[in-house]
């Protein structure tokens, strides 16, 4: 079942083309990664898909809904978390959860049960009444994800979710992502960590707004006869640069 489909999706900022005619099909329950250098277009891609940026041209369907005409419906079915974590540092953990629950107009009972659920799963009963700024970064990141997931979205967009956290926390976070995928959620992740790219079901390597490779990490390594995604990435980028010269 197709969860997200784009056709010739393009975003231009003036004369600069950030995303260049991308065709994509991502399936339900898939963990789909965008790997690329800064400015390769991966954030722009994600921001278009979750309605933060209007595409210059091309089509996109999110859970079968048109991003131009049905953006209000799409909003209820997607979750988004950026590297900034988007929590209010001067509110308590509980107040953050209540607020995001309120923004999605969840009823009070549901918010309360969600709050308990999060307290148990993140093991932060004590921290509920603490200000978010005093919570460790790793926990904050997981809390931000929990807040972005309160309304039980089908598709989750994670824009560099693990930048600025240590490798141990990054590992834990990926376990959550796997868990989400097993529950049938489609997960989009952008990253510039090579080892993180290995965890995706399918990976697209982006450069200059185009997808220059799209396959599972295993296949990619096999086709290019390399041991790690890092080596594949370097090989591809070099080849691309030579072609352009």
């Amino acid at each position: 079942m197709i969860s997200v489909k784009t056709t010739q999706l393009t975003k231009k900022f003036g004369s600069f083309t950030a995303v260049d005619a991308v065709d994509l099909e991502v399936y339900k329950g898939e963990i789909f990664g965008f790997l690329g250098a800064n400015g390769a277009g991966k954030s722009t891609m994600i921001r278009m898909l979750c309605g933060l940026l209007m595409p210059s041209s091309g089509e996109a369907l999110i859970d079968g809904l048109d991003i131009y005409k049905e953006s209000e419906l799409i909003k209820k079915r997607i979750g988004y978390m950026s590297q900034k974590f988007s929590l209010y540092n001067d509110l308590t953990v509980a107040e953050n959860i209540e607020f995001y629950g309120g923004v999605y107009s969840l009823d009070k009972k549901l918010i309360r049960s969600k709050k308990e659920e999060i307290a148990v799963s993140l093991n932060l009963k004590e921290e509920m009444k603490r200000l978010t700024r005093d919570v460790p970064v790793g926990l904050k990141q997981r809390l931000a994800l929990a807040c972005a997931m309160l309304h039980d979205p089908k598709i989750i967009f994670l824009d560099e979710p693990t930048s600025g956290v240590d490798p141990k926390v990054r590992k834990d976070f990926w376990n959550i992502i796997y868990d989400l995928s097993e529950h049938g959620k489609t997960v989009f992740v952008t990253t510039h960590f090579m080892e993180e790219a290995e965890y995706c079901h399918r990976l697209s390597i982006m450069q200059d707004g185009r997808i220059i490779a799209l396959d599972s990490p295993e296949n990619m390594k096999a086709i290019h006869n390399e041991k790690t995604i890092q080596d594949v990435f370097i090989k591809l980028i070099k080849r691309q640069n030579n072609d352009e010269i």
């Binding site: 979750c50 309605g51 933060l52 940026l53 209007m54 209000e72 909003k75 209820k76 997607i78 979750g79 988004y80 978390m81 950026s82 900034k84 988007s86 929590l87 209010y88 540092n89 001067d90 509110l91 308590t92 107040e95 209540e98 607020f99 995001y100 629950g101 309120g102 923004v103 999605y104 107009s105 200000l131 972005a148």
Partner: protein
């Protein structure tokens, strides 16, 4: 695209938490107005007391003694005897021993008043007081003018600055609070998180305004009460009318703050714009400190768009004169008009920015 009250409530509640979790800022927001009130109250005093008046009596008869006794009996004057020599008088002014000198000629009706004109306002006040004191006792004057001052017979300056100060502080605090609160969301990236949610621009704006309406009104009442207690201002009007009209004024100021937040890039910029564009016009162009009637036509024209000008009419009208709601309809309509215009600009710009993000 449905307007959802739950979402408005969620935003308002969150904003309320922002306020109470930052007690230091809250304290500043409350104490600053009180400090301003005290400063204005004791510094901006236009009442004249302790006028040092030198009197040179050349008539030395019953009538001239009567005049001197009259001044000596007044609380406003300290009377000193002085010679008629010009050098002595000049010297007394230079040493600031005297503010004014009254020369009584050999004929009692030949009076001359010399006033230190280095502070023209003070000088004209002294002139008036001396004239009053003379006029009230001079029985053989041909024309008897009796001046009656309405509403503020004692010419208390607190009657004049307390309403003005409420106007100033309300507009400053309200505009400041809202302008910062939205720019902060832009800076922290939380606005982005809200943009992917079903939240509508109008819900966001109204939710943001609500807690600050209450806070600003609270501060307004605080100044009013302090003004009544510390500076014995009267309040002869209707308290409910005052609340309603102050609410309208606060809404105007909050909408202005919102508009600022849609044009400024960061909190610092928002703060500066809010302070400059509320403080200067309110102090200078509203009729708070200087009467608008004495200003050139261009300035008077600009004053038409200064909300404090209208609120001053309302506050003075209700506190001092005892106007009713009907008599204050015109300034109220102006304020409502401003609110609608500012709010629609803010909403438009905000919605446009949301689209441009896309």
């Amino acid at each position: 695209m449905k307007f959802n009250l739950n979402r408005v409530y969620a935003i308002a509640k969150k904003e309320f938490f922002h306020i109470i979790h930052d007690p230091r800022s809250l304290l500043i927001v409350i104490l600053l107005p009180l400090l301003q009130l005290l400063m204005f109250g004791y510094a901006l005093n236009t009442e004249v007391k302790d006028i040092n008046l030198g009197i040179a009596d050349n008539a030395l008869n019953m009538q001239s003694k009567e005049i001197i006794r009259n001044f000596e009996g007044s609380e406003m004057f300290h009377v000193f005897g002085i010679s008629t020599r010009t050098e002595d008088i000049h010297q007394a002014f230079l040493e600031q021993k005297l503010n004014a000198v009254l020369l009584i000629g050999e004929d009692v009706n030949d009076l001359q008043l010399i006033v230190d004109g280095s502070d023209p306002n003070y000088a004209s006040l002294i002139k008036n007081y001396v004239n009053q004191a003379l006029a009230s006792k001079q029985e053989n004057m041909l024309v008897d003018i009796r001046v009656q001052l309405l509403f503020n017979p004692e010419l208390k300056s607190s009657y004049f600055f307390v309403p003005g100060l409420i106007a100033l502080i309300l507009v400053m605090i309200s505009a400041l609070l809202t302008s910062i609160s939205i720019t902060r969301e832009k800076e922290n990236g939380t606005l982005e998180q809200l943009l992917v949610s079903p939240l509508q621009p109008l819900e966001f704006i109204i939710g943001k305004l609500l807690p600050y309406v209450f806070l600003s009104m609270l501060i307004g009442f605080l100044i009013l009460i302090m003004g009544l207690i510390l500076f014995d201002v009267v309040f002869v009007g209707n308290a409910i009318a005052f609340t309603i009209l102050s609410f309208v004024y606060v809404c105007t100021a909050l909408s202005f703050g919102l508009m600022i937040s849609t044009v400024s890039k960061n909190q610092m910029q928002a703060m500066l714009i809010a302070l400059i564009f509320t403080m200067m016009p309110t102090l200078m162009l509203s009729g708070f400190l200087m009467p608008l009637e004495s200003m050139p036509w261009l300035i008077r024209l600009i004053s038409w768009i200064v909300p404090a000008k209208y609120y001053l009419k309302i506050a003075r009208g209700l506190m001092i004169k005892g106007n009713n709601l009907g008599e204050l309809l015109e300034p109220m309509l102006f304020l409502l008009g401003f609110t609608v215009i500012l709010l629609s600009i803010a909403w438009n710009r905000f919605a446009k920015q949301m689209r441009e993000l896309k």
